[in-house]
């Protein structure tokens, strides 16, 4: 079955992407060699989040295993915009698939710098905005506030013709309200969900385990929540959606497409299996055939009763 599709005009050989920060294509080449490029697991690659200034990331511990999932508090370690553009970005644009660069800032000014610098690099196919960060001026987390989200999108929209997708946080009562605001501000697509706020309690030492006290839950444990949010957002906006949250196989990928996602992203499952993107893609073909879908487009167009 032909799985080729597109999102915001970016052509994709399949609807399977990676979630930002869940696959380091360059480190994977160090571990596995060129086999990673010969059989790249995703139809487009979403980079880890880049910020204006370098970030070392959070102090350990950064991981905790939860039932059918994990909690992380990684803290977005990255080399900063300048080093990224002069270094890893060039290697990432040479990957055999379209590149979407994830950026985050605590002000519209820094977002502007990031979007302009990244958009100027040939080979970047799109930009994902990570808005799960407090705005330095208002103190509010942009992605939790429809008004902040719309204002940011409106400020960034004129900067580039590249597709801009916004990654929603699930830690809100009404994610579809934020999605509608992103649409009004000119977003081209919406990706969801980011991780769900979570705590890891070290009961043997009466303390929290993670270095910064709390983190974000991911993996199959969050899948039903992600499906509910994808469904709610799909009903509220006309934008294509990148659905993610605990996708581990073709069957769970199909659930997201039926819930309203145009394409899907694999995240935590990549940690368990470096070829998870490939098994999700192949499993999706079987899942579609088993349900009598003649094409991916049929499933994308179907609606839940």
């Amino acid at each position: 079955m032909d799985l080729s599709t597109e999102i915001c005009g970016i052509p994709l050989a399949s609807p399977v992407l990676n979630g930002s920060g869940t696959y380091d294509a360059l480190a994977a080449q160090r571990a596995f060699g060129d086999a990673v490029l010969d059989d790249f697991p995703f139809a487009a690659f979403v980079s880890k989040t880049i910020t204006r200034h370098p970030r070392p990331g959070n102090p350990p511990h950064r991981l905790w295993e939860a039932p059918s999932g994990m909690i992380n508090s990684i803290g977005l370690p990255n080399p900063g915009l300048e080093a990224f553009v002069g270094g890893d970005l060039l290697e990432l644009t040479a990957l055999p698939v379209p590149l979407i660069v994830s950026v985050m800032a605590d002000s519209a000014e820094d977002f502007t710098l990031l979007v302009e610098a990244v958009a100027a690099v040939p080979g970047v196919a799109g930009i994902e905005l990570n808005v799960s960060c407090p705005n330095v001026h208002s103190g509010l987390i942009v992605g939790e506030q429809p008004t902040e989200t719309e204002a940011l999108m409106k400020a960034l929209r004129p900067l580039t013709d590249l597709p801009m997708m916004i990654k929603l946080t699930p830690n809100v009562a009404n994610p579809h309200e934020v999605a509608k605001a992103a649409e009004a501000g000119g977003a081209d697509a919406i990706s969801l969900i980011n991780t769900i706020k979570a705590a890891a309690i070290d009961r043997n030492h009466n303390r929290t385990w993670l270095g910064v006290g709390g983190g974000g839950l991911s993996g199959p444990a969050v899948r039903p929540i992600a499906l509910a949010q994808v469904r709610a957002v799909a009903g509220a906006v006309d934008l294509p959606l990148v659905g993610m949250g605990g996708i581990a196989d073709g069957e769970s990928a199909l659930e997201f497409i039926l819930a309203g996602a145009t394409v899907v992203a694999v995240g935590t499952e990549n940690f368990r299996d470096p070829r998870a993107g490939i098994s999700v893609r192949d499993g999706l073909v079987s899942a579609l055939q088993r349900r009598g879908f003649e094409s991916l487009a049929d499933a994308q167009a179907s609606t839940l009763s």
Partner: protein, 292 residues
């Protein structure tokens, strides 16, 4: 950072058959048949999970566990990999229960191997290996690799008690080792670091190179002793780790100059002077929080 070229892992997670499993003191040793992977180098590790009964009734274990290889038999195409396991939580518990014929999912080998002594000290006369508890596993592999290369080495091993010295006879055989038991049940009564100090006092430290793996407090003591004598040391560290190939950024260890290294791709073997402290692995036995 270790300077040797490292074997590349096949780009997959492959099901390997458990060929054998038996008790070794308070620990277990099991053998996997890996038909695809290269021979790992001393210090490298694998990410392991059970093909069945992983994500059991409690939803755990969920992530694979990073485990160092303890012995390598055979060659590429028919490798037999032995692992030394301490049952301290749901992941290692499942592996300790492996029976012949069970499937184990494996990715790797991952990480930087130990450097050879001359790569660390051009005047090196040989190597001193210091292992503690379950951490004797990578020391056993390194010991064999040094023998094969004709590099002289001496081995010092420390244990809490007999129960926690599982695997020592099998992995080190009749090779000459000096033992320390904290409970005095055999060898030196006390810490293995006492033996290391005695050895460095009797040696010309200018020709020494030390390798170590064991509990964080022991590694930190070894690191400080070596710094005091000006002796190069490589340590095999442990950290909670979800992936093993640089994807999750979970296995952060503070660097001496600030910032963090990713233990899976920048380690697990690090030079003593690369890190702020070997205590970062505190409370981690071989995995992901909650003991495991």
């Amino acid at each position: 950072m270790a300077g040797r070229e490292r074997p590349l892992a096949p780009f997959n997670r492959r099901a390997c058959r458990v060929a054998e499993s038996h008790a070794a003191g308070g620990y277990r040793i099991f053998t996997l048949i890996d038909e695809q992977g290269p021979e790992p180098a001393a210090g490298q590790f694998y990410m392991l999970s059970g093909e069945s009964e992983w994500e059991g009734e409690s939803g755990r274990p969920y992530l694979p566990r990073a485990i160092s290889v303890a012995r390598i038999l055979g060659t590429r195409g028919a490798l037999r990999l032995e692992f030394l396991i301490d049952d301290v939580g749901p992941g290692t518990g499942r592996m300790a229960a492996f029976e012949p014929g069970d499937g184990c999912l494996l990715t790797g080998p991952f990480g930087n191997p130990f450097s050879m002594p001359r790569e660390l000290n051009s005047d090196a006369a040989g190597a001193i290996l210091v292992g503690g508890g379950i951490g004797i596993a990578p020391m056993a592999v390194l010991r064999r690799e040094l023998v094969k290369r004709g590099v002289p080495s001496r081995t010092l091993l420390g244990f809490r008690d007999q129960e926690h010295s599982g695997g020592v006879d099998e992995l080190f055989g009749c090779e000459e080792t000096r033992l320390a038991f904290e409970d005095g049940s055999a060898g030196h009564k006390g810490y293995v670091t006492d033996l290391l100090i005695r050895m460095l006092e009797g040696d010309d430290p200018g020709g020494a190179v030390v390798y170590s793996c064991g509990p964080p407090a022991m590694l930190e003591a070894v690191r400080n002793i070596c710094a005091g004598y000006g002796v190069p040391v490589e340590l095999a560290l442990e950290s909670p780790m979800a992936c093993g190939f640089g994807a999750c950024y979970g296995c952060a260890v503070p660097k001496a100059e600030g910032g963090y290294l990713r233990l899976c791709v920048d380690g697990p073997v690090v030079r003593g002077d690369q890190i702020e402290s070997a205590m970062a692995g505190e409370m981690v036995t071989s995995g992901i929080g909650d003991a495991d």
